[in-house]
Amino acid sequence: MQGCVAMKKARLILGLLMLLCLCFPAHAMDMQYFKQMPLMHEGRVKPLGRMAQLTLQQISGEKQTIDNSTIWLADLLFDPGSASQPKLFKIENRQLRHKLALVEKPQPNYDFAEMNEAMIRNADNILLLRTKNAGDLTKLESELVKLYTHVILYEQLKDALTLILPLKTEGNKPVRFINLSTEKQQQEIYRTLLAKGKNNVIFLGIPKKTIEGISWTTPWMNYTDKPDLLNYWGDLADAYVFQDAAAWESASKNLYESTLQNIPDPILDLRLKTELFYLELNPYLISMAFYGLGLLLLVLKRNRLVSPVVAFGLVFHITGIICRIFILQRPPVSDLYESLLFVGALVVFISLIYGWRRKDNTALLAGSIFGVILHGAGFALSGDYDTLKVLQAVLDTKFWLATHVLIITAGYALCLLTSGIAHYCLWYYPASRKIRNNLYIFALVSLVFVSTGTLLGGVWADQSWGRFWGWDPKENGALLIALWLIWLLHGKVSRHVSDFFFVMGLAGLSMIVALSWIGINLLGVGLHSYGFLQGSATTLLVLFALESAFFLHCWKRHNA
C-alpha cells in the first residue's frame, strides 16, 4: 500500500517536472560562442553577453542574467520585427507618462513602438533639453532625456544588422540589403534602412586592422568594404532566422574564431572566457556569505571553524580580484569600487594571518565584520553598471597604480583593522590588556603605509601635474589619517593621552578613514572627486552617530 502511494507521488513529481520543462523550454540555439563574441563597448573589448546584460539592465532598469540578456539581444538583432513586442520600458513616474501622453495601464510597461511614437510627439522638446547642461535639468526633464537615450539605444541595436539580415528569399537563397543592386537600394524602403544603419554606432562588432592598430566598426560601416566577417554575420543571421540549430552552432563558432584572428591579442579568448566566468560566478556574494558565516561561528563560539570558513571566503574574494586584473590587464585599484574590493580582501587577509600566528580570533572578528561591510558598500556602489572600466588617461600608469594606490589602500586596510581591534579593546577595557599591547605596533604599521602612500601620491602628482601637493580634498583626507595617527602615537609616548583615550582614538580611526576615503567624494571638488556614492552621506551620518554613542557608553563606563 505504502509502495503504491510512493509510486503515485513519484509520478506526480515527474509529471510536474515535465510540465515545468514545457513551460520553460531550453533555447534551441547553443549560445556559448555567441555570448562570448568580442565587441567594443564603452571603450573596452568585452563579451557580447556582458554588453547585452548591461544594455538590457540599462533599458529595463532591472537586474538581468547574462544568458537571458544574450537571448534577448539575439532576438533583437536577428528578428527585429517581433523583438519589438516585449514591454521593456518601465515608466513609474506618472507625470512623465502624462507628459508623453501614454495610455495608463495597471503595469506602466511599454513596448518600443509605443515609446517611439511618444518620442516623435515630443521630439522638439527633447532636442531642446539635450542642448542644456545636465545640472540645469529638472528631475522630470532628466528622466525624459534618459528615456530618450534608452529608446535610441534600443533602436540602434534593432537596426544594427539590417544590412545582412535576410529581407526575403528568392528560391532558397536569402536576399540581403548588402546584395541588392545600387539601383534597388535607392527605393524608398531601402533608403530608410540605409539612413538608419549609417547612423548606427552602438554595435561595434567588426574589428579591422589599420595602421594605428585595431579599429572597431559596426556592420553598416562596412557597407562598401564587405569584409569576410560581414558574410559570417550573415550566415549567423540566416541560421537564426531559419532556426537551424546546427548551422547556428557552426556559424557562431566560425564567426567567433574569425573575429579573434583579426585581433592581435593572444589572450583575448581567455580574457573573454574569464570575464563570463567572473560575472556568472559572482565571487563577492560567495565571499560575503562566508565572512558572515565566520561571524556567526564566532558568536556561537565555534572558534576552530572560523579561520577555515573565512579563509574559504577569501579564496573567492581573491579569485574575483585576480580575474579583474587578468580581464583589465592592470592593477586592481583605480576607483572607489575597486578600492572597496581590495581593502576588504586585505583586511580579511591580515586578520587571518594575525589570528593564525597569535591563535587569537579578535582580529578575525574585526576582519570579518569589515569584510561584510565593505562588500555591502561595494554592492551598493556597483548598481547595474559595468564595474570593469577603462582608465582615464591620467590614471593609465601601471607603475603608480601598483605603488601609490596599492600602498595607500593597504594603509586604509590596516587602519580599519586597527580600529576594529581597538573597538574590541574598548568594549572589554581594561580586561583586554593582552591584545591592547599590540595596538601601538598596529598603529605604527598603519602609519608606515598611510604616510608612505600619501607621499607617493604627491610624487605621482609631481610627475603628472608638476606639483607635489595641491591641498586637494582627497590629499587632505589622506593627510588627516596620517596626522591623526601621528598625534595619537606622539600623545601616547609623551603621555598627553591616557591609555584609554589612545584606544578610543584608534577606534575612531574607522570614522577618519570613512571620511577620507568616501566622505571626501561628497564635496564634489578637486581632482580626486570620483565615485560619488548616492546616499552615502546618510550612511556616514548614521555610522558617526552609532560610533559616538558607542564611545560615549564606553567613556561613561570607564569613568563610573
Binding site: 588617461a393 609631481d462 608638476g466 606622539h490 609623551s494
Partner: protein, 257 residues
C-alpha cells in the same frame, strides 16, 4: 662662547621650542584647520580656500587673527628641528625614529621653498605657433589670456603637433599628446608631452593639462608650466620616511619579542 653666557631668555625659548606638548597642540590645531579648509573648498572653490587656509600665515576670522597653514607648518618645522637637534639620541633603537623625523623636516623645508619660490601658469599653444608667455588664472579659476603674461619662459616652445584620443564609444580620454619644439640659446630639439610624462627643462616642468577644440581652427593645446625649485625634497623625504618608519616598526617588534 661658553653655553652658560647665553642669555637666559634664549635658553628658555630653546627649551620651550623642544617641548613635545607644543607638537601635540600644533597637530591638534593643524587637523582642525585641515578639516575646516577642506570643507570650505566646497563653498569657496579649491584655489581661494587653499590660499586662505593653507598658503597663508594669518587667517582673519573677523577681527580675530588665527594662524594660517604656512605659519602652523613653520612652527611645526621649528619645533621638530629644535627637538631633533637637542633631544635626538643616535642609537640603533632610535635610528628609524630619527630618520622619520628627518624626512618630515626635509618635507617641510621643501614645502617652504616651494611656497616662496614656486611659479605656475599655462601655455596656450595652437598647432604651429611659438610662445614664451605664461598666463595665470584669476580668483575664479578662469584663465586670463587677454591680460599681460604672468611671466615668460627663458626659452621658447613651439607646438608642432597635437593628438588626442577617447576610448572608443566613450568620452573618457585615452591619451593626449603634444609634440613640442624647444628653442634655447640657438639650440632646438623636439620633445613629446603626454599624461604622466611631462617635459622638464631649466627647472620648469611642462605637462599636458587640457585642449581647446574650435571648429575650423587649429586645436589649442593647454600646457601647464610649473617652476618649483623645491621639487626634489619630497622625493628624498618619501624614501627616508618609508625606511625610517619601517625600521622603527621593525625595531619595536624585535625588541618586544
Amino acid at each position: 662662547m661658553h653655553f652658560s653666557v647665553i642669555p637666559k631668555q634664549i635658553k628658555k625659548t630653546w627649551r620651550f621650542l623642544q617641548r613635545p606638548d607644543l607638537l601635540f597642540y600644533i597637530l591638534l590645531y593643524f587637523m582642525g584647520l585641515l578639516i575646516t579648509g577642506t570643507i570650505a573648498q566646497k563653498s569657496m572653490g579649491l584655489f581661494p580656500a587653499t590660499n586662505m587656509f593653507f598658503n597663508s600665515f594669518i587667517i582673519w576670522y573677523g577681527i580675530l587673527p588665527l594662524p594660517g597653514g604656512a605659519l602652523v607648518m613653520g612652527l611645526l618645522f621649528i619645533n621638530l628641528l629644535v627637538h631633533f637637534l637637542a633631544k635626538s639620541t643616535w642609537s640603533l633603537h632610535s635610528f628609524g625614529n630619527n630618520l622619520a623625523h628627518l624626512s618630515i623636516l626635509i618635507l617641510l623645508l621643501g614645502g617652504g621653498i616651494t611656497l616662496f619660490s614656486k611659479k605656475e601658469g599655462f601655455l596656450l599653444l595652437p598647432v604651429g605657433e611659438t610662445t614664451k608667455n605664461i598666463y595665470q588664472t584669476d580668483d575664479k579659476d578662469m584663465l586670463q589670456i587677454d591680460s599681460k603674461p604672468a611671466f615668460t619662459l627663458p626659452f621658447s616652445v613651439t607646438l608642432e603637433q597635437f593628438d588626442h584620443k577617447y576610448h572608443t564609444g566613450t568620452d573618457i580620454a585615452e591619451y593626449y599628446l603634444s609634440e613640442i619644439r624647444i628653442k634655447d640659446r640657438g639650440q632646438s630639439w623636439e620633445e613629446a608631452i603626454m599624461m604622466n610624462d611631462p617635459v622638464r627643462h631649466k627647472g620648469y616642468t611642462i605637462y599636458q593639462s587640457s585642449f581647446i577644440d574650435i571648429p575650423d581652427k587649429p586645436t589649442i593645446s593647454v600646457l601647464s608650466v610649473v617652476y618649483n625649485p623645491g621639487w626634489l625634497f619630497p622625493y628624498i623625504a618619501t624614501g627616508l620616511l618609508f625606511f625610517g618608519l619601517a625600521f622603527h616598526a621593525g625595531m619595536r617588534r624585535y625588541e618586544k619579542s
